[in-house]
Amino acid sequence: MTSLAAALALSIMLSIVVTLVTVVRRPGVFDRIIGVGMVGTKTTVLLAYLGLLFGRVDAFVDIALTYGLLNFVLTLAVARYFTWKGET
């Protein structure tokens, strides 16, 4: 179970790196915002896997919950901010 969690955590890290490179290379405000939002969702899952790896799920799940909340608020706020200022 631990090796499976390690492999899945590594695959999620790889996805995050590839997504961040794509976010930097791609033009457009909203494309970048959805890329960063997807990185936030994947980080929530990654924190749960890390808790499984370190044997401290009870500590890491609180961090995951906080990260998910912050990610949601950030996405909503940035969407409101760029509604009329978007450079398409």
Binding site: T22, T41, G68, K85
Partner: protein
């Protein structure tokens, strides 16, 4: 035993859907189609992965907290996707079909 098998199944399914979300974000041609890929496959992948970790932990307060995180993502991620696509539509981000229609 059954909980372990269920956990492995859920985690592998979640990893598949998260991977599908990444591929959709990189490969799809258009802003709204990328939104479609992220809003659905990423939400389902996160839900399945968190429930798989909860199956690993077993019946406890931690599993309940993991279920709370999963339910929160299940509600919040489509909401954020909707707000972002509405903002992009109001700011005049064009999809492929919109461009074709305006050219033709």
């Amino acid at each position: 035993m059954i909980a372990d098998a269920l956990a492995v199944l859920l985690m592998l399914g979640g990893a598949f859907f998260l991977f599908a979300g990444t591929v959709g974000y990189i490969r799809l041609p258009d802003f709204f189609t990328r939104m479609h890929a992220i809003g659905k496959s990423d939400t389902l992948g996160a839900l399945l992965s968190l429930l798989g970790v909860a199956c690993c932990v077993g019946w406890s307060l931690t599993a309940f907290e993991l279920a709370v995180v999963a339910i929160f993502i299940f509600v919040a991620n489509p909401t954020a996707t909707h707000a972002l696509s509405r903002a992009a539509f109001l700011s005049g981000v064009a999809g492929e079909q919109t461009e074709e229609r305006s050219h033709g």
